[in-house]
């Protein structure tokens, strides 16, 4: 029997074709890995996928929940994708998300209550959102400066600051910000109506979709415009693709790096504010539920295309909502959702690889066999 070898070679394909290959292999691998997880957990694989689909698309409530999840995912996905376009790795969206929520919460708890503020009540929400953007951006400022001035890896600094942010939040809602009327439960008081993001369909009971979704969609468009059509965006793209060309052109690379990381932090901060002001309404355990990290999955599923980020966020949102059904319906642990998310990320990375290269099976002729070929 003649041995068969795998040959890897660069693929010559158009952009659209590549995108299709990338997405299809992402979904295929995610499905495969997901099925493996289900099988290992000892449930019927087909039933699990059906439960997932049922959970995501089975009712108008669950469809609404997908939109609720998509709003923060769009923003954290944009935050990660923006940095990746500059060859920066912001894995600190989770921490910036928390700081954004804390800043918005501060406005809601201490500046907005009726009678406490010297400005009209309808200023409260914009102020809280602005504070959230500032808070998230500020949380990214230290890693950005360290990166731009000293070359410290932003991967480490942003990642580690996530833990600081979550611990700081816990300190606040267990300590100084705890609701005095909360009967000992850890968590702040409910935020006043003035700072909450209004519901899109207030007449539908249970539909929690809030206007943060529209904000996220508008920001996706704005960010696309920034990168594709403005001078700053051009400089940022040059820097991301070729730092030497940026130096040749005389761009201020350090300044662009700091701006981009802070902008990314601001987006993640807005995601946190949306979750707090639109859904949770109080700072408590569970506010930081990994939506920042999920932004990485969204960004790669969208192949760093800013206009595709909302679609990727919807898809991941559906997966997360559906996975809730796995918990209730099939008694799978909550980690099943995380496992599916990870499967999707692996799938996206593999898909990117397959879009750039193709693998061929070659039947080796008799003689020299089994030797790997290194295409240069």
């Amino acid at each position: 029997m003649r041995p068969v070898r795998l040959v890897l070679e660069p693929r010559q394909a158009s952009g659209a074709w590549r995108a299709a290959i990338s997405l299809l292999s992402a979904l295929a691998l995610a499905g495969l890995l997901g099925s493996l997880v289900f099988a290992l957990a000892g449930v019927d694989v087909g039933a699990a996928w059906r439960a997932l689909a049922q959970g995501a698309f089975g009712s108008s409530y669950s469809l609404g929940e997908i939109l609720v999840k998509a709003a923060p995912l769009i923003l954290t996905g944009l935050a990660v994708a923006l940095c990746c376009r500059l060859n920066l790795w912001n894995v600190g969206a989770e921490g910036q998300f928390v700081l954004g929520a804390l800043a918005a919460g501060y406005v809601g708890l201490f500046l907005a209550p009726a009678g406490a503020q010297p400005w009209p009540a309808h200023f409260a929400l914009p102020l809280a959102l602005a504070a959230a953007a500032l808070g998230g951006g500020a949380w990214a400022l230290a890693p950005a400066l360290l990166k731009a001035r000293l070359g410290v890896s932003e991967i480490l600094s942003t990642l580690l600051l996530n833990y600081v942010a979550v611990l700081f939040m816990e300190h606040l809602f267990y300590g100084p910000w705890r609701d005095p009327a909360g009967q000992g439960f850890p968590g702040t008081a409910e935020l006043p109506e003035a700072v909450r993001l209004p519901l899109v369909m207030p007449w539908l009971p249970g539909a929690r979709v809030h206007w943060g979704l529209a904000l996220a969609l508008a920001l996706a468009l704005a960010l696309w415009f920034l990168l594709a059509r403005t001078r700053w965006g051009f400089r940022a793209r040059v820097l991301g693709q070729s730092p030497r060309a940026a130096a040749y052109a005389g761009f201020h690379s350090a300044r662009i790096t700091v701006t981009a990381l802070c902008l990314s932090g601001a987006l993640a901060g807005l995601a946190g504010a949306g979750e707090l002001l639109g859904v949770q309404h109080r700072i408590q355990d569970g506010l930081a539920s990994g939506l920042g990290f999920a932004g990485i999955v969204v960004a790669f599923l969208a192949r760093l295309n800013l206009l595709a980020v909302p679609l990727a966020a919807l898809f991941l949102g559906a997966l997360l909502v559906g996975a809730d059904q796995l918990q209730t319906g099939l008694r799978l642990p909550g980690a099943a959702a995380l496992a599916l998310e990870a499967a999707l990320l692996f799938g996206a990375l593999l898909g990117e690889f397959l879009a750039a290269n193709r693998i061929r099976l070659v039947r080796a002729p008799a003689g020299e066999a089994g030797e790997a070929r290194h295409a240069s």
């Binding site: 403005t230 051009f234 693709q241 030497r244 040749y248 070929r373 240069s376």
Partner: protein, 533 residues
Amino acid sequence: MSGGRSPGANAAPMAPAPPVLSCRGLTKRFGGPEGGVLANDGVDLDLFAGRVHALLGENGAGKSTLMSMLSGAFRPDAGALLLRGEPLVLRSPAAAMRAGIGMVHQRFALVEALTGAENLALAAGGAPSPRAAAELAEAFGLLLDPKRRVSELSMGERQRLEILKLLACDARILILDEPTSVLAPAEISGLYGTLRRLADQGRAVVLVTHKLPEIADVADEVSVLRRGRMLARNMPRSQGLPTGWDLAGLSRLMVGRELPGASSGRQRRPGASARETVLRVRGLCGQGQPPAFADVHFEVARGEVLAVVGVAGNGQEALAAVLGGTKRPARGTATVLGREADQALVAYVPEDRHGTATVPGMTLAENLLLSTTGSRGAYLQGGAGSRAARAAIAALGVVASGPQALARDLSGGNLQKFILARELSKSAPLLVVEQPTQGLDVLAVSEVHAAIRRAAEESAVVLVTGDPAEALALAGRVAVLFRGRVAGVVDPGEAGAFARVGRLMAGLSDPAAEGPAGPVGVPGGKPGAGGRP
């Protein structure tokens, strides 16, 4: 440059010995089966032990593809290789090495952090042994200290180390891809001596090049590739001709047409009349410890070309970056028309086309906006970029599908013409061009040279190059950098200018500098060594 070739030492056979390696009908196509590029089309070639074979062809002629098939990196779509008459299938470079076929690539494959001996051990197996490495180097007459790290070695030493790697693996067929492009003239004759010896010891040597005159001394036979087809195969030397070769005829075979505006008239030195001084360099020192270059003084006037030459690593790269405005000097000043240089005053063509002068993944329209100031303001002027890119494409006859073509899809010569056109469109008073023709084919070289000459009619030009022939052909003065200092300034019109530049590049003492008529530019960098009498 003398290759030390003696006709008697040449093992050219009386009765033809069989070739050690033959190609028959080698064909390689890239891309789809119908479309795509036919890189090699039914190529035949014979390599003989004891001969130095020169493979000529322009960039893109298919030389690299052919050699990659010989050295196992690519597999032919059709055709066969015969090693001493036996069919040979090569699956990898390692398999080729086992068959005795080794290649020195243009970009060396050395681990810079390791010593020469360690690199040898990586290639040939076994434990690194500086002594064995030194003995091997000695045996083949290749000067090299195997205990030094590769990062400390000159380009010539690295090349010798690459050749040693092949010899340590007992290669019988050695392929060298553009071996002279990294060498100083003095080193080139040393390389030719080495190749001659290796051939005389019964090896087959293949020199891949597009620089015809360089190989005239050393080659025993010549083949010419054009557009994937072998136009002339195993042509022997003809004893009737002075150089042994019909250089003009071979050149026509390579290019396939006459070169436009073939350069003869080099730039005259401008008269001492009212030529405006554009660039004034005073006591310029580069960054680093020791500084990449130090105590550089010169002036360049409008209408003048000053060439700065040196072997790679002697400071001209850093000097070009400072003059081009992408690096700051440690000390000293470089002023353009009395002002500090900026993008509006300096047009700069850096050495690295893919990645510095352009962003490979961006369109030509976007790349045009990289260094030009055509669109100030908050928004990207995509339309203006497209129009300007179209103008640049038309100005120098760039072959590209249009402003939306990606920079990475252009050939080296076309991209270089595009970059040059972009920089020239700025009409800046100073043009700095660095290694403008490296890796370009003959036709593109002549076009780039013509564009530089035209630019010199309006601007001051600083040409930084490692190629003394290019410097002498284009410049009114040639300043030679050695170890970061101006070792001398040569007038291309003086007798023996080429030899003098070669000696200065190699760091040999400069007899003319002591002579009364010697141009200014004293080694050691006396202030004011300007080179303008």
